[in-house]
């Protein structure tokens, strides 16, 4: 549609454009890669990655074009105009949407004729997260589930030795951890800091047998099981034993944890890195989430896909298979925000013996 909107003006300036842009030099076409920048380490890893890829593939070059802010806005605009890079970083959550808009290339054919790729090596749940209608639209790079961070010093002061195992203990511990620590009669340490975003209420809803999202990908709140779970959280908040980050002047829930304003908070592996660097003096431990009617947590999976309108799908696949393949996948082991998506890589890195990382797998 937009074409008819601009054609009258477009034709006027088309020859002008030839003057302005006609002098671009034509090198060997680089494979373009984009992603958001999750952490400094991630950025370094990506650049290492590009370097090793170019070393292993003489004649191929990669142009890394990170997007610093408004990632989805810019990505969608580029996808819509066919200017998106050849390999794009995506979250598994976006797959239904991107598939509906028909902008991603199915990868099954590529995998089918690539015997060295070993797709069975991926965690099956992670691969499923990038699947839609039987076709695979992305490959995972790393993942992390949500777990419970708690402050062991605060637990000790409250006479608690172990993290809460179920909802009752969770609420009871939060009550005992809510205290006035400096004796001015105002509460300055709360039991639990709850993040505003929907994803952080989701584990509670799932653990209660409910859901937020119906078959058509729409958000529904009316289910009794969901309402019950949300009410549990609301009671903690109105009871004064749980707070939102803004209640205590924090930017997000782990920021509140770092400022010692809350004793427990839920987050992914990325928060450990944040605490280490920003609040090095604050002790923390990590445990699996307290269990409701059933155990459940939310997995955040990040991976790469190929836009449908890419000019060179074969080259894009070569980059993508290296990014997520058995060899390149190893680079992500050093990531500070996610666990490797490949089981062989995770085994090699002995994730299950890492006291911190294994909680998030």
């Amino acid at each position: 549609m937009y074409r008819s909107g601009i054609t009258p003006f477009g034709s006027i300036v088309l020859w002008l454009a030839l003057f302005l842009s006609g002098c671009e030099q034509q090198d060997a076409v680089p494979i373009r890669l984009t992603g958001w920048i999750a952490s400094p380490i991630e950025e370094t890893l990506t650049r290492t990655f590009v370097d090793t890829f170019e070393q292993r593939h003489p004649g191929l070059s990669v142009r890394y074009e990170p997007i610093a802010a408004n990632y989805m806005d810019k990505l969608l605009l580029m996808l819509a105009t066919g200017t998106a890079p050849d390999v794009i970083m995506i979250e598994a959550f976006w797959i239904p949407l991107l598939v509906e808009y028909d902008v991603l290339l199915p990868l099954d054919d590529f995998i089918g004729r690539d015997p060295g790729f070993f797709p069975d090596d991926f965690e099956p749940v992670l691969l499923d997260a990038f699947r839609s209608g039987g076709a695979l639209y992305g490959l995972p790079k790393d993942h992390s589930t949500l777990a419970l961070y708690f402050n062991p010093d605060m637990f000790e002061e409250a006479g608690l030795a172990v993290p809460p195992r179920n909802w009752d203990e969770f609420a009871e511990f939060a009550r005992r951890l809510t205290r006035d620590t400096d004796g001015d009669t105002r509460i300055d340490q709360y039991g639990y800091g709850h993040a505003e975003d929907l994803e952080y209420s989701l584990p509670f809803v799932w653990q209660n047998g409910g859901d937020f999202i119906d078959g058509r990908g729409r958000i529904v709140f009316a289910e009794p099981a969901s309402v019950e779970a949300l009410n549990f959280l609301r009671r903690m908040k109105t009871g004064g034993i749980a707070v939102m980050p803004s209640d205590v002047g924090a930017a997000w829930n782990m920021d509140a944890f770092g400022r010692r304003r809350v004793a427990m908070a839920i987050s992914g592996l990325w928060a450990a890195n944040f605490l280490n660097e920003t609040y090095a003096s604050v002790p923390y431990r990590v445990a699996v989430l307290p269990v409701g009617k059933l155990p459940a947590s939310v997995a955040f999976a990040v991976g790469y896909g190929i836009p449908k309108r890419t000019r060179n799908p074969e080259l894009a696949w070569r980059l993508l298979r290296y990014l997520t393949g058995p060899e390149g996948g190893r680079i992500w082991v050093k990531s500070d925000i996610g666990l490797p998506a490949r089981r062989s890589v995770a085994q090699e890195a002995a994730i299950e013996r890492d006291p911190l990382k294994r909680v998030f797998s």
């Binding site: 454009a17 302005l20 920048i37 610093a68 580029m78 002047g249 990325w270």
Partner: protein
């Protein structure tokens, strides 16, 4: 009588001065805070009570900005783009503003209303057709894409029109009689008397373009085409923001606009001294 009024005036003056000082503090505090944070080592910068004197003091953030990212390159891009845009606007906006203010032509009112109408559309909406147009022209990720859409601004035309309307026409008439054509009148008579308005336009355009974030973010895809605000956003990682670096960047971004303001604002002073506002 005289004495009382002198005393009253003095009291009033010191009252106003005190008020202005308080206001100045309120207006500058956030900037001073970011300056202070930029001189601190990384850590919890949001502690309470707020510290305005950095302790310990360090220039490390500025050093890192200079060495870890292509700061000079982005600065150059930003400066080049902003200067090109500002000079284009000073000339083209003044030309168009003059036409709207002093010349009669068919379609003037309709055209001007249309201009104002374009201002009502939120930037996020125009982003899409603008990007599509530049893409159709093959100009995505070029300097042209950074400069061309901002070369003329409706706000600038509007500003110049408003000022030209308050300029008496007698001077122009005299110039016509001397045999100048319209462009010569505009160039030799009207523009030299419009320095304050041009100063305001220069300040507004430079600042607006210098701080522009959304457009360069979308239209520049490789880091050699980034402007400073886009480049510095790289320090806002998804899960961790390097506040001290970000603040050092914010301070450095603000400095050129402050300098431009200080340079141009001298053009306001002269006039006011003779305007009779002073007591």
């Amino acid at each position: 009588m005289m004495k009382i009024s002198v005393v009253r005036r003095r009291v009033a003056r010191s009252g106003i001065l005190a008020l202005l000082l308080v206001a100045a503090a309120v207006f500058t505090l956030p900037f001073l805070w970011s300056l202070s944070v930029s001189l601190q080592p990384p850590g919890d910068v949001f502690r309470w009570p707020m510290k305005l004197v950095p302790d310990p003091f360090t220039l490390e953030n500025y050093r890192r900005l200079w060495t870890e990212i292509p700061f000079a390159r982005w600065l150059l891009t930003s400066a080049g783009v902003a200067l090109a845009v500002t000079s284009a606007n000073l000339f083209f906006d003044a030309l168009a503003g003059y036409a709207f203010a002093h010349l009669r032509f068919p379609g003037r009112n309709v055209l001007f209303t249309l201009l104002l109408a374009t201002l009502m559309v939120p930037a996020h909406v125009t982003l899409v057709p603008k990007f599509m147009l530049l893409n159709a022209l093959g100009l995505v990720n070029t300097y042209t894409a950074l400069v061309a859409p901002a070369m003329v601004q409706v706000v600038g035309i509007f500003l110049m029109k408003q000022f030209f309307e308050s300029i008496p026409r007698q001077m122009e008439e005299a110039a016509f009689i001397d045999g100048c054509n319209r462009f010569q009148v505009f160039w030799r008579v009207v523009l030299p008397t419009s320095k304050p308005a041009l100063a305001a336009l220069g300040i507004y355009t430079f600042q607006g373009n210098w701080n522009e974030f959304l457009w360069p973010l979308v239209v520049a895809t490789t880091s050699d085409r980034f402007t400073l605000p886009v480049g510095l956003a790289m320090f806002r990682y998804e899960f961790r923001v390097e506040w001290t670096l970000l603040m050092a960047g914010a301070v450095l971004i603000a400095l050129p606009t402050l300098i431009i303001f200080l340079v141009f604002q001298r053009l306001f002073i002269q006039g006011i001294a003779t305007s009779g506002l002073k007591e």
